[in-house]
C-alpha cells in the first residue's frame, strides 16, 4: 500500500477528501467553550488516541484561559467601561490574543502531526465554535483503501438514511 506519510504539500497534490469528522462541544461545564475528548471511531486507523486527546485537551485549555474570569479580565472590563468601550477600537482583547495563539497552535499541529497522517484540523472559530472539524483525506494511489472507506461509510449512511425515513 502507499506510504501514508504526507507533508501538507504532498497532501494537496495527491489527496482527495474522504470524509469529515466533527468533534462536538462539551456543555457539561456550562456555556464555557470546551470540546469533547471522546475519540471518534473514524480516526481509529489514522491517528493515535493519545495524540488526538492531547490536542483537544490543549485546545480546551486555551479556551478556558481565554474565558477565565479573574483579576486581569476584570481590569480589562473596568477599563473598557470607563472609556465607554471606545478602548476596544484600538486595543485587542485578551480573548482575541488567545485566539491567535490557538490558531497558531492548530497550524502547528496540522503541520507536525495531522497532515503526515492525512488529516486536517479546522479552527473551531471558523465553524462558530461549535465543532472541531477534522477532514480525513484518502490517498489517490491507495484507491483500494478509499473505495473500501467510501463503501463502508455509504452503507452506514444508507442505513442511517433508511432509518430516518
Amino acid at each position: 500500500p502507499c506510504p501514508q506519510v504526507h507533508s501538507l504539500q504532498e497532501l494537496r497534490r495527491s489527496a482527495s477528501l474522504a470524509t469529515k469528522v466533527f468533534v462536538q462541544r462539551d456543555y457539561s461545564d456550562g456555556t464555557t467553550c470546551q470540546f469533547q475528548t471522546k475519540f471518534p471511531p473514524e480516526l481509529e486507523s489514522r491517528i493515535e488516541r493519545q495524540l488526538f486527546e492531547e490536542t483537544v485537551k490543549t485546545l480546551n485549555g486555551f479556551y478556558a484561559e481565554a474565558e477565565k474570569i479573574g483579576g486581569s479580565s476584570y481590569l480589562e472590563g473596568c477599563l473598557a467601561c470607563a472609556t465607554a468601550y471606545f478602548i476596544f477600537l484600538c486595543m485587542e482583547t485578551h480573548y482575541e490574543k488567545v485566539l491567535k495563539k490557538i490558531s497558531k497552535y492548530i497550524q502547528d499541529q496540522n503541520e507536525k502531526i495531522y497532515a503526515p497522517r492525512g488529516l486536517l484540523l479546522t479552527d473551531p472559530l471558523e465553524r462558530g465554535m461549535r465543532v472541531i472539524e477534522i477532514s480525513i483525506y484518502e490517498d489517490r494511489c491507495s484507491s483500494g483503501s478509499s473505495s473500501s472507506g467510501s463503501s463502508s461509510s455509504s452503507s452506514g449512511g444508507g442505513g442511517g438514511g433508511a432509518g430516518g425515513r
Binding site: Q9, Y27, G77, Y85, A115, R130, G163, G164
Partner: protein, 495 residues
C-alpha cells in the same frame, strides 16, 4: 444564459450578468467577478440583518424605533444643554453641564455600541456539519419514526447537576448551545439570548449585553439628572420672579420645557424600572428569556436552580459586566471562499443521502473543489503559493453523481427542498426556505418563538425541484471549476 460565459467577451459577460441576475445561478456571477472585488460575507449573510460601513456595523432589519430613541435622547439633551445649562452653570456650578456632558457621552457611546455590534450570532451550520448531525440524529431516532412525524429533536445535557435540554434549530441546523435562542425577527440564533430590543434596533445577547446594561443604567442617570435640574431651574427662577413668570419668561422655551419635562418624567420611570429589572437579572445570572419562561424558578420544583449562577451576587455581576468579551463568530468582513457555502439551509435535502462522507456537495467535482480548498487553506500560510493547475488535476473525477436519491423525501422536516443552486447561494434560497413558523410573532419585547416541532414536509415538491436542481447543477458545475481555479487560492485569513 451561457454557462461558459467567462469565455465570451467582457461586454457579453457583464450584460448577461445584469440581465439574468435574478434567475441565473450565482455561480456565474462570481465567475465574472474575477475582474471585480470578491464579495464579503456580510453581503450573503442569511439572517435578517442590515449591514453598514462595509460590514462593520450590524443591526436588525427594522431600525425605525432606534432612530426615535436617538432623536429623543439628542433632542432632550440638546435642549437641556442649550437652555438650562447656561443658567445653572452660572447660578450653581459649571460642574453641572460637565457632568451632564460626560453622562451624555457615555449614553451615546453605549447606545451605539449596543446597536451596532454583533449580539453573539451563531453562524449557521455548514452543509457537512448539518449532514453529520442529521445522520447522528437518524441513528439516535432509530426506526421509531415510521409513519408519523419524528419528535422534535432535543439533546439533554447535565450542567452543574441540572438537566438542560438543548433544542435543534431547524433554520440554523444546529443544536443550540445552552442559553442560546433563535430570534425570529432577525432570524438568527444568538448566544445567551436576552431579548430583541427595538429601541436599540438589535438583539441583546452575549456580546452586547453589558453595553445594553450600561446604556440603560447611564440613561437612567441622565434622565434623572436632566429632570432634576430642569426642576431646579424652574424653582430657582420662580424664586426670583414667581412661578408663572418663570415659565412665561422665555415664551419660546415654554413648550420645550414642558415637553421635555414630560418626556423625562415618563422615561425616568420606565428606564429606571428597566435598569432595576436588569440589575436583578445580572445579579442572579439569568436572561430575560429565562426569567420570562421561568426556567429556573422555584415554582417548577424544589430541585430547580440556575446552573449558571456563580452563587453570589458580586461574582455574577462581575462576570456579566467585566468578563471577557468573546469575538464575533460570523466574520462579517471576511471574503467568501469559492466553494463551501456559508450555511446548510438549501442544500440539506440533497445532502442527506449517502452523504455520510462529506459528499454533501452535490457531486464529486464539487467535493474535489472543496477538498482542494481545504488543503490549500490549511497549507496556505507558509507553504502554499499558487498552482491553479491543481484544481484542473482534481477535476476529472469519475462522474458518479450522488444525486440519485437526494431530496426524494425530506424526512427530517425541512420544509422546502432546495429551490435554487445550493452551493453558493446563501441568501436568496434560504430566505425562501425560512419556514413560516418564524414569521408570525410580532411582539418584540418578549422572547421570540423558538422553532416548534418539525413542520410538515413537502414531498410533492421535491421531484420537481430535484430535476431542476440537477439541471442547474450541471450548468453550474462547469462554472464552479472555472471560478475555483481562479479563486482557489483565496485563503481564509483565520486559518
Amino acid at each position: 444564459m451561457t454557462p461558459g460565459g467567462g469565455s465570451g467577451p467582457m461586454k457579453d459577460c457583464e450584460y448577461s450578468q445584469i440581465s439574468t441576475h435574478s434567475s441565473s445561478s450565482p455561480m456565474e456571477s462570481p465567475h465574472k467577478k474575477k475582474k471585480s472585488v470578491p464579495k464579503r460575507k456580510w453581503e450573503v449573510f442569511p439572517g435578517r440583518n442590515k449591514f453598514f460601513c462595509n460590514g462593520r456595523i450590524m443591526m436588525a432589519r427594522q431600525t425605525g424605533v432606534f432612530y426615535l430613541t436617538l432623536v429623543l435622547i439628542l433632542v432632550t439633551s440638546g435642549l437641556f444643554f442649550a437652555f438650562d445649562c447656561p443658567y445653572l452653570s452660572e447660578k450653581i456650578t459649571p460642574a453641572i453641564p460637565a457632568i451632564g456632558g460626560i453622562l451624555f457621552f457615555f449614553v451615546m457611546g453605549t447606545l451605539l455600541r449596543t446597536s451596532f455590534s454583533d449580539p453573539g450570532v451563531l453562524p449557521r451550520a455548514t452543509p457537512d456539519e448539518a449532514a453529520d448531525l442529521e445522520r447522528q440524529i437518524d441513528i439516535a431516532n432509530g426506526s421509531s419514526s415510521g409513519g408519523y412525524r419524528p419528535p422534535p429533536r432535543t439533546k439533554e445535557v447535565i450542567i452543574n447537576g441540572q438537566t438542560v435540554k438543548l433544542k435543534y434549530c431547524f433554520t440554523c441546523k444546529i443544536f443550540r448551545p445552552p442559553r442560546a435562542s433563535h430570534c425570529s425577527l432577525c432570524d438568527n440564533c444568538v448566544e445567551r439570548f436576552d431579548h430583541h430590543c427595538p429601541w436599540v434596533g438589535n438583539c441583546v445577547g452575549k456580546r452586547n449585553y453589558r453595553f445594553f446594561y450600561m446604556f440603560i443604567l447611564s440613561l437612567s442617570f441622565l434622565t434623572v439628572f436632566i429632570f432634576a435640574f430642569v426642576i431646579t431651574h424652574v424653582i430657582l427662577r420662580s424664586q426670583q420672579t414667581g412661578f408663572l413668570n418663570a415659565l412665561k419668561d422665555s415664551p419660546a422655551r415654554y413648550p420645550f420645557t414642558e415637553t421635555y419635562s414630560v418626556v423625562c418624567f415618563f422615561s425616568v420611570w420606565s428606564i429606571v424600572g428597566l435598569s432595576g429589572f436588569h440589575t436583578y437579572l445580572i445579579s442572579s445570572n439569568q436572561t430575560t428569556n429565562e426569567d420570562i419562561k421561568g426556567s429556573w424558578s422555584n415554582k417548577r420544583g424544589k430541585e430547580n436552580y440556575n446552573p449558571y449562577s456563580y452563587g453570589n451576587i458580586f461574582t455574577n455581576c462581575c462576570a456579566a459586566l467585566c468578563g471577557p468579551l468573546s469575538p464575533s463568530l460570523i466574520d462579517r468582513r471576511g471574503f467568501i471562499q469559492p466553494d463551501t457555502p456559508q450555511l446548510a439551509g438549501p442544500s440539506n435535502g440533497i445532502t442527506m443521502y449517502g452523504a455520510t462522507q462529506s459528499q454533501s456537495n452535490m457531486c464529486d467535482q464539487d467535493q474535489c473543489i472543496q477538498s482542494t480548498k481545504f488543503v490549500l487553506q490549511a497549507a496556505a500560510t507558509p507553504l502554499l503559493q499558487s498552482e491553479p493547475s491543481i484544481t484542473s488535476e482534481e477535476l476529472p473525477l469519475p462522474g458518479k453523481t450522488s444525486l440519485s436519491g437526494p431530496c426524494a423525501t425530506l424526512t427530517l422536516g425541512q420544509p422546502t427542498p432546495p429551490s435554487s443552486m445550493p452551493n453558493l447561494t446563501s441568501d436568496s434560497g434560504l430566505t425562501d426556505i425560512i419556514p413560516l413558523k418564524e414569521e408570525h410573532e410580532g411582539h418584540q419585547f418578549l422572547t421570540p418563538e423558538e422553532a416548534p416541532s418539525p413542520p410538515g414536509m413537502l414531498p410533492s415538491g421535491s421531484p420537481i425541484t430535484h430535476s431542476h436542481t440537477m439541471h442547474v447543477l450541471s450548468l453550474a458545475s462547469q462554472d464552479s471549476l472555472h471560478e475555483d481555479s481562479v479563486r482557489g487560492l483565496v485563503k481564509l485569513s483565520s486559518v
